[in-house]
C-alpha cells in the first residue's frame, strides 16, 4: 500500500506539486487524471525516487520507502531499446531489477510473451512493431521487474484512437486476471472510467487533488460499460472536476 501525504515539489521558481495526498491499496487500480503539465509525471519521479520531494512524505506499507523502491515505472515514451529484441527488452526488467542472469532473464521474458500478445515476436526488434505492440512490450518489461506496484505514465497517449481503445480493453482484461497494483496517469477521462477502481483528479499546475472518485461500475467492463448511464454520469462529473480547476486559470 502506498500513501502520499501533502507532497510538494518545485523546480526553481516553478511550483509543480502543491500538497498532493493520495493512497493506493494493494491490488487496486488507481488513475490520476489531470491536464498536461500539472505535475503527473513529476509525481512518478518522486515515487520512484528519481527526484527528491521538497515537502510531504511517502509511506509504503506504513514505513518510509527503502531503495530500490517497490515500484516499476513505465515511461511516457516506451523507451524500448532498438539494439535489443522484444524478448531482450522484456528481459531487461528481470536482469536489472530482478538481478537474474542473462539466460534466466531471457527464459522468463520468453514465458511472458503470450500473456502480452507478443508470441512469435520475441526475436523482432521494436522498430518493426506496431504502436500497440510496442506498448505491450513496454508493459511486459515493467511487469518483469517483479515490483509490487506498476506506475504507468500515459501508456496509450501516443496511440491512434482505435488502437488506444483496443489496448484499454486489453489492459482491463489482463488486469482482471493478474490483479497488479496499478497507478495509471492519463488525461483521457474515458480511459480512467473504463479501467479504474478509483480516480484522482489533479488541477492545473501547481498540482493538487481537486477530486477523488470511486468507480463502482461492475467488472468485467467492456465497450458496453461505457454506454451505461452510470459511466456517462461519472464522465460528466470528471470533466466538470477538470474544468473547475481550469476555470481558475483562464
Amino acid at each position: 500500500m502506498i500513501e502520499v501525504r501533502n507532497l510538494q515539489k518545485s523546480y526553481g521558481a516553478l511550483d509543480v506539486l502543491a500538497g498532493v495526498s493520495l493512497h493506493v491499496e494493494q491490488g487496486e487500480f488507481v488513475s490520476i487524471l489531470g491536464p498536461s503539465g500539472c505535475g503527473k509525471s513529476t509525481l512518478f519521479s518522486i515515487l520512484t525516487g528519481i527526484e527528491p520531494a521538497d515537502g510531504g512524505e511517502i509511506l509504503i506499507d506504513g514505513a518510509p520507502p527503502t531503495e530500490p523502491r517497490p515500484c516499476a515505472w513505465m515511461p511516457q515514451s516506451d523507451a524500448l531499446f532498438p539494439w535489443r529484441t522484444v524478448e531482450q527488452n522484456i528481459a531487461l526488467g528481470f536482469e536489472v531489477a530482478g538481478g537474474h542472469g542473462r539466460r534466466e532473464a531471457s527464459e522468463r521474458a520468453r514465458a511472458l510473451l503470450p500473456t502480452f500478445g507478443l508470441e512469435g515476436f520475441g526475436d523482432t526488434r521494436p522498430y518493426h512493431l506496431s504502436g500497440g505492440m510496442r506498448q505491450r512490450a513496454a508493459l511486459a518489461r515493467t511487469v518483469a521487474q517483479g515490483r509490487d506496484t506498476l506506475l504507468l505514465d500515459e501508456p496509450f497517449g501516443a496511440l491512434d484512437a482505435l488502437t488506444r481503445t483496443d489496448l484499454q480493453l486489453w489492459l482491463g482484461d489482463i488486469w482482471a486476471r493478474e490483479r497488479w497494483t496499478v497507478v495509471l496517469i492519463t488525461h483521457d477521462v474515458r480511459e480512467a472510467v473504463l479501467l479504474s477502481d478509483r480516480i484522482y483528479v489533479l488541477g492545473p499546475r501547481p498540482g493538487t487533488v481537486v477530486g477523488e472518485f470511486e468507480v463502482s461500475l461492475p467488472r468485467p467492463r467492456g465497450i458496453a460499460t461505457l454506454g451505461s448511464p452510470a459511466a456517462a454520469e461519472l464522465e460528466v462529473e470528471l470533466l466538470q472536476a477538470l474544468r473547475v480547476g481550469q476555470d481558475a486559470t483562464l
Partner: protein, 259 residues
C-alpha cells in the same frame, strides 16, 4: 535487390564526375604542351604506376601498417578517455577543453616534432596517426553517450541501476552510431597523417616514395602514389561501413522502417 540498386544509384554520379575530370585532364596535358614533368596525363600515371607496382606496393604496406597500428592505439585511448569523461564531471571539465585546444596544433608542426622526439622508426608514425584520429573518435563517443534516450536512463535508474550498468546497457550502445561517424572522419585523416610523418623522416612508405619520385622529377610516380593513398583511404572508409553493419545492424534497419 532494391538496396543494391540504391547503392548503384549513389555510386554512379560521382564516378561520372570523376571520369569527366580524368578525361579533361588527359586532353589538357596532351594538347597544352605542359610537359610530363609538370602534369603527366592520367594514362601515363597509370602506365608508370603499373610499371613500378612492386615498389609502390612495398611502400604502401608500411604506410598501411602505420595507419592500422596508429588507429588501434587511438581507439584504445579514445575509448578509455571517453569513458572517463562520461563517468566523471571533473574528467569532462578538465579533459574536454584540453582536447579541443590540442586540435589547434597543425599537423605540419607536429610531424617534425614527433620525429625529433621519437626518431625515424615506427613509433613517431603511430603516434602521429593516433594523435590525429584520437579527437574525432573521442568526440563521436562522448556525444554519442550524451545522445542516449533520457527515459531509457531514468528507467534503468528506477530499476536500481548505477552508472556502470546504465553505461553498459544504454549509453554505450546508444553511442555506437556516433562512434562510427567519428571513426569515418578519423580515417580520412589517418593516411594523410602517416604520409606526413614519413615526409618528416622514414625509410619506407608512400611519403618516402613520393619524395623520391619528386626528387627525380617523376611527377607521374608522385601522382601514382597519390592515387594509391586515396584508394587506401577509400578502402578503409568503406571498411567502416562493413564493420558498422556487422556491429550495429539495428541502426540502419531502424532508419529504414517508415514511421
Amino acid at each position: 535487390m532494391s538496396r543494391a540498386r540504391g547503392i548503384l544509384e549513389r555510386v554512379w554520379p560521382p564516378l561520372v564526375v570523376l571520369a569527366l575530370g580524368v578525361v579533361a585532364w588527359e586532353f589538357y596535358s596532351r594538347l597544352s604542351g605542359i610537359g610530363n614533368a609538370v602534369l603527366p596525363p592520367p594514362s601515363r600515371v597509370v602506365q608508370s604506376g603499373w610499371a613500378d607496382h612492386a615498389s609502390l606496393w612495398d611502400n604502401t604496406l608500411p604506410t598501411l601498417r602505420e595507419v592500422l597500428i596508429g588507429f588501434a592505439v587511438s581507439l584504445v585511448f579514445a575509448f578509455v578517455v571517453s569513458v572517463a569523461i562520461d563517468a566523471s564531471g571533473i574528467a569532462r571539465r578538465s579533459l574536454m577543453p584540453v582536447l579541443i585546444g590540442s586540435q589547434t596544433i597543425p599537423l605540419i608542426v607536429l610531424a617534425p616534432l614527433v620525429v625529433i622526439w621519437f626518431g625515424f622508426g615506427l613509433t613517431p608514425k603511430i603516434l602521429l596517426v593516433a594523435l590525429v584520429t584520437f579527437f574525432p573518435i573521442v568526440v563521436g563517443l562522448v556525444e554519442g553517450y550524451a545522445s542516449s534516450d533520457r527515459d531509457a536512463i531514468t528507467l534503468l535508474r528506477t530499476m536500481g541501476a548505477r552508472w556502470p550498468t546504465t553505461f553498459r546497457l544504454v549509453r554505450l550502445p546508444a553511442a555506437l552510431p556516433g562512434f562510427f561517424t567519428g571513426l569515418r572522419i578519423a580515417i580520412t585523416y589517418a593516411v594523410v597523417a602517416a604520409i606526413f610523418a614519413e615526409y618528416a623522416g622514414a625509410e619506407f612508405g608512400l611519403g618516402v616514395y613520393m619524395q623520391g619520385a619528386k626528387a627525380s622529377f617523376r611527377t607521374d610516380l608522385v601522382l601514382a602514389a597519390v592515387v594509391v593513398s586515396a584508394l587506401l583511404t577509400l578502402v578503409l572508409f568503406a571498411a567502416t561501413y562493413v564493420v558498422q553493419a556487422l556491429v550495429i545492424p539495428w541502426y540502419a534497419e531502424s532508419k529504414r522502417v517508415p514511421q
